[in-house]
């Protein structure tokens, strides 16, 4: 009996996952259509999203107008870090960034509506108010990354080239896991959604600067506690031929996909625990 039920459970799980992705696509598509009803507003907010993130890079440019290096890294190298972090975070923000609204749904009780639908709650919350304007952030990151790739001094090998898309996707996965874990935390602390900003927006800001800038404890925290270092610091150190932070061995530059998968699994567990602990407001 036990043996025969195992594949069935697995099929059921796979079925749920496919169903979740399908539902995500449908809900996101609906929000895109509704956004496109006001095209001017969409263009303006996308530009605003672009400009808002570009400010960080303007600050870096202003810094480099007064100095030649920061923590021993040149402007092209810092731009490389910035671009990688910006694109990875931008992709995560685009796909699951809306989850930061979960606390509000818990508070006002509208989460209950999502619970009664025969669709995975995670997919519904992630696609809720899907904001295509967040492409502004991705675009800005891509532009800086493009600039960095043109000006940075790197001996390109097949391995380094192959690592580029792997880095971006794994980085996006790691940031997605942070978003989901932060949302799970909101089941407990309903109006403390801003804590998430410290790890999401704060995390991407930190990764824009060379690891040598920060105190060792911060770098350790960003490597072993919330493994943001795998988004760009470690693989970028390999590509640029820089010493690794914390004297880590060389092969860690190739581990971001594993770290991303592990982070997503942990975030998934946190999400399920959070959802199970959910008690409706009952109003």
């Amino acid at each position: 009996m036990a043996e025969s039920s195992q594949p069935a459970v697995r099929d059921l799980r796979r079925g749920r996952a496919v169903e979740g992705v399908r539902a995500y696509g449908l809900i996101a598509g609906m929000w895109i259509r509704s956004t496109m009803a006001y095209r001017t507003s969409f263009a303006l907010t996308t530009f605003g999203n672009f400009a808002m993130t570009a400010l960080d890079f303007v600050a870096i440019l202003l810094m480099f107008s007064r100095v030649d290096a920061l923590g021993g890294w040149s402007l092209p190298e810092v731009a490389f870090l910035y671009g990688l972090s910006g694109v990875a975070f931008g992709l995560a923000d685009l796909s699951v960034g809306s989850m930061e609204r979960l606390g509000r749904r818990v508070r006002d009780g509208t989460l209950d509506t999502l619970l009664v639908r025969p669709v995975p709650v995670l997919a519904q919350v992630a696609a809720d108010r899907f904001a295509l304007r967040r492409l502004g952030r991705v675009t800005q990151g891509l532009l800086v990354l493009g600039y960095a790739l043109v000006v940075v001094d790197v001996d390109w090998t097949a391995g380094k080239l192959l690592l580029m898309p792997v880095m971006l996707l794994s980085g996006a996965g790691i940031f997605c896991a942070v978003f989901v874990a932060a949302a799970a935390f909101q089941f407990v602390a309903q109006d403390a959604s801003e804590v998430a900003n410290a790890f999401t927006y704060g995390g991407t800001t930190m990764l824009q600067y060379p690891p040598a800038v920060f105190a060792l404890d911060l770098v350790r925290g960003a490597t072993f506690v919330v493994p943001l270092a795998f988004v760009n610091w470690l693989p970028a150190s390999y590509v640029l031929g820089r010493p690794y932070p914390l004297d880590l061995p060389g092969w860690v530059a190739f581990t971001p996909p594993l770290v991303a998968v592990a982070c997503c699994a942990l975030a998934g567990l946190a999400w399920r625990a959070g959802l199970r602990s959910y008690r409706s407001t009952g109003s």
Partner: protein, 268 residues
């Protein structure tokens, strides 16, 4: 303004203070986030000042103090948004503002009082902790003289006035635009860039530096910081901030009277 209406605005300010005081978890979360951002910024500034000591006339301790002051004032002065303006815009969009206009209170003063209450709470509830944390764990340059602290408090009050006046203009734009998202976003961008939140304005190179230091946003962070750090003459700073406050509040009045003439109350 009689004693009665004075009491009214004090009550409105107290209401604004209490309203934000009820969000304890949100305040704690904000304290945490401001502290983390302060940490990240402090290390980047230390690296910058390592590379170029005395950049912009600050030493490292002054640069560090500037970071934590910025984190303390970000929410209080709503430099990155989050003040009263979203609510007023929503009331303009839905037409609820007509009710406000019939109240026996001045629209601008009413919202100013509410925003001052909010700002005071954000300063004490949210700004003080990151600032104290920063002062304990990093080398900071804080004045010993009580007179400098007193002068700093005056610049803070003037900063609140300028910050309010700017955001009041942003909110009133909703009378013409209805959807104020774009304007709000542009106002945040200008606020973050031109106040010194991204980088102290004295570090900005050449003409760009001179221009941003002359704009009203420099009243929000740069001006109080320079008084606290002993880099600016308090009287000159008061004059600069007060001039912008008077000019912007007066402009707000003008726009308000033009806007309220447009109000058409719908319905039977």
């Amino acid at each position: 303004m009689g004693a009665g209406s004075g009491r009214l605005y004090v009550a409105v300010a107290a209401g604004g203070f209490r309203r934000y005081a009820t969000y304890r978890a949100a305040t704690a979360a904000g304290v945490f986030t401001n502290t983390v951002f302060g940490l990240i910024l402090v290390y980047t500034y230390l690296a910058l000042w390592d590379e170029k000591p005395q950049l912009g006339g600050y030493d490292q301790a002054q640069a560090v103090t500037f970071v934590w002051l910025g984190q303390a004032l970000l929410a209080a002065l709503a430099i990155g948004g989050g003040g009263f303006e979203d609510e007023l815009m929503e009331r303009i969009r839905t037409g609820d503002v007509a009710v406000d206009l019939y109240r026996p209170a001045d629209l601008q003063l009413w919202w100013l009082a509410a925003d001052v209450g909010r700002a005071l709470f954000q300063l004490l509830g949210r700004g003080a902790v990151p600032f104290v944390f920063g002062s304990l764990f990093f080398p900071v340059a804080l004045p010993r003289e009580v007179s400098v602290w007193a002068a700093f408090l005056v610049t803070l009050m003037l900063a609140m006035l300028v910050g309010f006046a700017l955001r009041y203009l942003v909110a009133l734009s909703a009378f013409w635009l209805l959807d104020g998202t774009g304007v709000t976003q542009m106002a945040w961008l200008a606020g973050l860039f031109c106040s010194g939140m991204l980088l102290p304005l004295n570090v900005f190179p050449g003409v760009l530096g001179e221009v941003v230091r002359a704009l009203p946003w420099s009243s929000l962070l740069q001006a109080p910081a320079d008084v606290l750090l002993g880099e600016a003459d308090p009287l000159g700073t008061y004059l600069f901030q007060a001039s912008w406050a008077v000019a912007l509040l007066a402009l707000g009045r003008l726009v308000q009277s033009a806007a309220t003439r447009r109000v058409v109350v719908q319905g039977g």
